[in-house]
């Protein structure tokens, strides 16, 4: 069954397993390897503040992969991602929080424990919402999940014992990996370097898990549900079951994201989990590429780095002022860019950054011929 590869015939597969392999072509292996090496080498090349941003990007990428599983692969539009992220964030923060502090805390600082707990709690919340979601389709579902965000915002604002209340917030989870603290400067690594490496490793793990999920039987079932749910039901896909799986897995990823996201800044307030956060994640997968794992990562990094890019704009375009001056400010440009990018990508390149990559790849595949 394993089949053999012929030298110089990269696209000749002699077995199904080869075709479905994780890295099914030579260049893919090379590129992924190089990217990983660059990723691991970055802490020693770039400044700490940029490193923090990249770490945020890695965490956001985990969340974007989660959203892509439910929205991209299973086709169930969810605007409620911020709600599940919040559940993860508060589970992790409460578990690892100081028992004697002002907010609920249990003092379990071990990273694997609270990370899993955050994911599982959020996943459970996803399972609870799923039966409602399984009955609804399309835009009805989008609005119901939007309602979740508002209900969540209210609960987190009122439940000050857990969240610290609006404007004050609480300490994020304490990352303690088998006794090794990741959120303090060490002898070899600075705080930012350690956190970045942690996020990168976790991103690779979760991306790999997601990639394996979507190329499995489950992933094919999800795609069938997305493409034509009734046809999927006819060929034996249990709709409710797979919608629930999609929601649970997606929420698990969201929970993990929430738990990790605020380690970088250290403190978080309940009003951060608003509609804007959900829209940002939607933007990540739309700009990155719907129903692709690599696209989710590209989109997440792009959206996270966008503020940094717009910060540089006043130097190039003198009519854009900084926060103090009159006229149009960088913050306005940033917000407008979100909207414009979503619109432009959807109109001109619906496959997102992933689609642009495919185009570049296909161009060079046949180079110097046009096809």
């Amino acid at each position: 069954m394993s089949g053999t590869r012929l030298w110089g015939r990269p696209e000749l597969y002699t077995s199904y397993r080869q075709d479905m392999a994780l890295l099914n072509t030579g260049p893919k292996k090379v590129f992924v390897g190089v990217l990983l090496l660059v990723g691991l080498g970055l802490p020693f090349l770039v400044q700490d503040d940029l490193l923090q941003l990249l770490a945020t990007g890695c965490v956001a990428a985990i969340g974007a992969i989660g959203l892509n599983i439910v929205t991209g692969y299973a086709g169930q539009v969810s605007l409620g991602h911020a709600f599940f992220i919040a559940i993860g964030a508060y589970t992790a923060a409460a578990l690892s929080g100081d028992p004697d502090g002002g907010t609920i805390g249990f003092g379990i600082t071990s990273l694997p424990v609270w990370l899993l707990a955050a994911g599982l709690t959020a996943g459970l919340a996803g399972l609870i919402v799923a039966p409602l979601a399984a009955r609804l389709r399309g835009l009805y579902l989008a609005i119901v999940t939007l309602g979740l965000v508002f209900i969540g915002l209210y609960v987190f604002r009122e439940w000050t014992d857990l969240t610290g209340g609006p404007g004050i917030g609480r300490q994020a989870a304490v990352p303690d990996l088998f006794g090794y603290r990741l959120d303090v400067d060490g002898t070899f690594f600075t705080r930012s370097q350690k956190i970045y490496l942690l996020m990168l490793v976790l991103l690779v793990i979760f991306a790999l898990l997601a990639r394996n999920l979507v190329r499995s039987r489950t992933g094919r079932a999800l795609a069938a549900v997305r493409d034509r749910d009734i046809a999927a039901a006819v060929i034996g896909v249990d709709l409710t079951r797979y919608k629930m799986i999609a929601f649970a897995v997606s929420s698990f990823y969201a929970g993990v994201t929430g738990a990790l996201l605020y380690i970088i800044t250290g403190n978080f307030v309940p009003e951060s989990f608003d509609l804007l956060m959900s829209v940002q994640f939607i933007a990540m997968i739309l700009i990155g590429g719907v129903a692709t794992i690599s696209g989710s990562i590209m989109g997440a990094l792009f959206i996270t780095l966008l503020p940094r890019i717009t910060r540089e704009l006043p130097a190039v375009f003198p009519f854009i002022g900084d926060a103090s001056g009159g006229g149009i400010t960088v913050y306005q440009v940033e917000a407008i860019l979100y909207g414009l990018l979503i619109i432009l990508f959807l109109i001109f390149e619906p496959r997102g950054l992933y689609g642009i990559w495919i185009r570049i790849r296909n161009y060079w595949k046949a180079w110097p011929f046009s096809y």
Partner: protein, 295 residues
Amino acid sequence: MTELIQSVMRGLGSGSVYALLAFGFVIIYKSMGVISFAQPALMLAGAVLVTYLVSGMNFYLAVIVAAVIVALLGVGIERTAIRPMIGKPVFVISIITLGIDVVVREVVNGFIGLNVRPIGDPWQLDTRMVFGVEVQVRYLAMFATTMVLVGLLFLFFRYSRMGLAMRAAAFDQEVALAQGVSVGGVFALSWAIAGALAAVAGVFVSTEAGVDQNLWIVALKALPVIILGGLDSLGGAVVAGLAIGVVESLVGTYGVDVAPWLGGEFALVTPYLVMMLVLLVRPFGLFGTREVVRI
């Protein structure tokens, strides 16, 4: 009793705002099958326009001018960003409207600034006796205006040629096209109506406390309203809008006494809770058309 009537009247006032917004949502949904998330931005634009216009002209005239301008803005958006996307999945178009919302809102925010802009309405805090109870005039004005507008629109859909064309296009676009209906014109008109209604709703909302950058959040409450009424039911939008307004107002008045553990601002989330409860029983809202599925 006095408290109850006042609460209900307040609810009808804010409910008519939701009804106006929901009406716009439903008109767009019926014509192109898309939920336009750009409504909050259009509402904000309308309110802001009035705050500027009112310094130079009569308030009522300012509202009409603002409604016309926002209607044109709606048509412009439809023409440039929505029309090229016809035939794409509705979810994609809806997300585009989300992007438009962000862009328009950000531009409008530039005109609001950090302070609250007064809307300059003639009602202020005047009250009038209704059933022996003092009720603020602006709630009466909101309710009456909404009823008149909705009534006119129903007459328009029922009796005018264009209204018939819109109903035909909502029923089946291709057949309507074959009968000579300009479906593009229908799209443009539905965006114009939705924009004008949103502008009027924006003015009503800002009689409360002027226009600031957070005003748009009110418009999102029209989303549970349209789900509750049924996405494709105009009548449902009005009924559900008023119902949600009244429920919200009642919870705001009595919620603290009945269930203090829910917190003081529980009324803010009641629209969403009502929506979820109703959807558990009726997945297509109270008056929505049940979707017939076939392979």
